[in-house]
Symmetry: C2
Subunit: 125 residues, 2 copies
Amino acid sequence: MREREIIAEFWRRMAANDFAAAGALLGPDFVLEWPQSRERIRGAARFIQMNAEYPAHGPWQFTVQRIVGGNGEGVSDVEVTDGVQKARAISFFTLSEGKITRLVEYWPEPYDPPANRAHLVEPIS
Amino acid sequence: MREREIIAEFWRRMAANDFAAAGALLGPDFVLEWPQSRERIRGAARFIQMNAEYPAHGPWQFTVQRIVGGNGEGVSDVEVTDGVQKARAISFFTLSEGKITRLVEYWPEPYDPPANRAHLVEPIS
């Protein structure tokens, strides 16, 4: 499936820490949105700069857990680390003519399991 | 697309607060995982009970922002509120023979935009 191939290629280029190469997969009117912080980045140039400037302890590693795609859209679940910082990115891609035109990204953080449902759950080891 | 229809129907039944009806869409070996809290729930019965017992200020409302699907998988982006509590659920569905067999769900929370990329972003209004 074409959407999933493009998303996989995007993460391969990110994993090479070659943000310019990843940026080459973005369409001319590319927009990235982070709804949690209500931030929007427009254009590949700012996307590349943001990644290059992001404070890191070492090269970024990306572990793709899953890519779901179809109908010009796709979603990835990716673990991100620089060896010190660890995060999980859930990324909704919109694609058109082989390019990524829109990316809406979520960064869920760990939280403690609530006590009031402990009788219904088991821990993931 | 069949995956997206089943996921939409799941959220329609959740929006009716009819958790038993939503549970009827789950397969016999259904598993729900919340990676952030490392919790796992097994089986439709516990899923239904967990939803019925969850502390709420009123009926749950679910606003489906997007459903992406294909190849036996699907992802939804849904806003959840009981009129007081507000949350966002990103749900990865695995489907088989018209039933939901696995659900991996993320609950991203708001955070403050970092100052060090303010020169590259604009606020989402």
